[in-house]
């Protein structure tokens, strides 16, 4: 499987070469070269920040088209709980689930079901002292990708369990196949996704060789059709009862939801990529103590803040909380038979993408050159060169990707020096 496949991509025609995205990318994965943004696929973690900030909407997330459903005999939707926060005045998630059936799915299986199972296992493993503390959640793929490239010493702290999307896909396929006597290959499972990192995750999964998810459809893409198909005036007594998850699972849509499902206290939930990085730095330096569980979400507010959602994260969060009173606490439990669908089958490996060279001596030489060049730069991080900071520019020069004079300040100095030299040649010396 291609480790560097990405959902986040650039629409070249729309990009005007401004520097908004390069400044906001948390892994410094974007450069503007020849007037267009370029994403380094080795560094991109699919957090979607660039999609969020692009003033020209030139960044987009690849996701599965609705017509892909046709290739499958039996179509199953597995909606992320964030979907339930997108609709106003919703008091029964079955209205949404029935809507999904109306637009072409044969069955709907909430991802909050898998979430409840993951919460159950987390608690069990923690109580059995089988996890390294502090345990870091593995649910947000952008965060896991970030840890893999930037925080190698924390890899062992990452919860070695598949994310709810993957667990739910496997629960659904196993159950449906057994119930209907249908071969697995005929069942297509589609995740209704709030974020591009999850699209990347089914194509290049974390913790297993391949995913059981067959497609990821963006919430924003499905929203208009789904919204229209949903019967909001329906008498809920006449509604097909599909929902099989509770408050604890649905709560995973918002920051803190995963923590609260397994821990009473001694947990920390941080959201927004800058906060996430800061917390990871502090864990690495052992500055955070007395904490058992750390939940990190790349998006502000948690999954409801995903760039493929249509509603503001805080409005969605309020709606999710409003749903609580209509939901049971939880409906899904872990048992030993689920181990094979929950546990990681592949370990997380350090991908040192920040490393300057494979040869440590060469890396030292380059580092010295970078430090020397940095001193000559204006340190104002203007971005005109196409690199996000003066430091990143120095690295790009030393790596041979750009030349020193791509810095307008260095260029101006050189032009001035040349002009001065020229004026000297023709100058008439009055003292003689």
């Amino acid at each position: 499987m291609n480790t560097f496949f990405h959902s986040v991509a650039l629409e070249k025609e729309k990009c005007i070469g401004c520097t908004t995205c390069i400044k906001r990318c948390p892994t410094e994965a974007i450069r503007v070269r020849n007037g267009k943004a370029k994403i380094d696929s080795k560094r991109c973690i699919d957090c979607g920040e660039c999609i969020r900030v692009c003033p020209k909407n030139a960044k987009r997330a690849h996701s599965t088209r609705l017509d892909a459903l046709e290739h499958w005999k039996y179509k199953v939707a597995i909606p992320a709980p964030a979907l339930f926060g997108q609709f106003n005045n919703l008091n029964d998630i079955d209205i949404v689930l029935n809507g999904l059936k109306k637009i072409g799915f044969d069955e709907v299986y909430e991802v909050s079901r898998g979430a409840e199972v993951v919460s159950d296992v987390t608690k069990t493993l923690f109580d059995q002292n089988k996890l390294k503390k502090p345990v870091i959640s593995s649910a947000c793929p952008a965060v896991v990708r970030l840890i893999r490239q930037r925080f190698p010493s924390l890899i062992d702290n990452v919860l070695p369990l598949k994310a709810p999307m993957e667990v739910t896909a496997r629960m659904a396929k196993n159950e449906i196949s057994a119930r209907l006597g249908m071969p697995m290959e005929e069942i297509g499972v589609f995740f209704i996704t709030p974020c591009p990192a999850k699209v990347t995750d089914f194509a290049a999964p974390i913790g297993s060789a391949s995913s059981w998810v067959d497609g990821a459809i963006s919430i924003a893409k499905i929203f208009p059709r789904l919204s229209e198909a949903m019967d909001k005036e329906v008498d809920i007594n006449n509604l097909e009862r599909i929902a099989r998850s509770g408050m604890l699972g649905v709560n995973w849509a918002t920051s803190g939801g995963e923590s609260k499902a397994s821990f009473e206290e001694r947990y920390l939930a941080a959201d927004g990529i800058e906060n996430v990085i800061n917390v990871l730095e502090q864990i690495e330096d052992e500055r955070i103590q007395d904490i058992d569980f750390i939940e990190l979400n790349a998006c502000s507010g948690g999954c409801v803040g995903g760039v493929l959602c249509v509603e503001n994260p805080y409005i969605a969060k309020t709606r999710i909380h409003r749903l609580h009173k209509y939901l049971p606490e939880k409906q899904n439990h872990y048992d030993n038979s689920m181990n094979s669908i929950i546990n990681w089958t592949q370990e997380l490996e350090y991908t040192p993408v920040m490393k300057l060279s494979e040869d440590i001596n060469e890396a030292f030489t380059m580092m010295n050159e970078i430090e020397e060049l940095r001193k000559k730069l204006p340190q104002i991080d203007c971005g005109s060169c196409g690199s996000p900071t003066c430091k990143a520019f120095a690295e790009d020069v030393v790596k041979g990707k750009v030349k020193e004079t791509d810095c307008v300040f260095i260029l101006r100095q050189k032009v001035k020096n040349a002009a001065d030299a020229l004026s000297q040649i023709g100058a008439y010396d009055e003292s003689k």
């Binding site: 930037r150 190698p152 010493s153 730095e281 690495e284 330096d285 052992e286 500055r287 103590q289 350090y350 040192p352 920040m354 490393k355 300057l356 060279s357 494979e358 440590i360 001596n361 890396a363 030292f364 030489t365 580092m367 010295n368 430090e371 690295e395």
Partner: protein, 142 residues
């Protein structure tokens, strides 16, 4: 021979509390770029952060000099603060002279010097009351 020398000014906690810690974060990033052993990077980050915070709180800041070599990292923390009157006591876990307002922020638990020693391969303290303190720590790459 391959190597890298870095110098940082560490501010005092009173003038810039958040600035204390920036030097160790910067060193950590550079070590990762060089491709240093992750476990050694972690030790350097923890020990240097503790040292920086100590300097910022107790000595009104100072300088950090870091020499990175393929086989080891040497961190020298130089301050012109009050010095340490009783080094042996200061090395005991839980012994602290930090004021209450610093402790309330979760610092000054008396783990600074013991932790620095724990995470480094050698640690040397030169101190004189009224003159200042120089702490030299070495973390081996392997």
């Amino acid at each position: 021979m391959a190597g890298l020398e870095l110098k940082y000014a560490v501010p005092s906690a009173e003038e810039d509390f958040l600035g204390a810690g920036e030097a160790s974060t910067s060193v950590k990033k550079k070590l990762r770029q060089i491709g240093y052993n992750p476990e050694a990077v972690r030790k350097v980050a923890i020990a240097m952060y503790e040292g920086e915070i100590n300097m910022a709180i107790h000595a009104g800041g100072g300088e950090a000099e870091v020499e990175i070599l393929p086989q080891s990292v040497t961190i020298k923390l130089i301050d012109h603060g009050p010095g340490i009157a009783d080094v042996e006591k200061a090395m005991q876990e839980g012994w602290s002279t930090a004021p209450e307002e610093v402790r309330s922020l979760g610092f000054g638990a008396g783990m600074g010097l013991p932790n620095m020693k724990k995470y480094t391969d050698t640690m040397d303290i030169e101190t004189e009351v009224g003159k200042g303190t120089t702490i030299t720590m070495v973390v081996n790459a392997q």
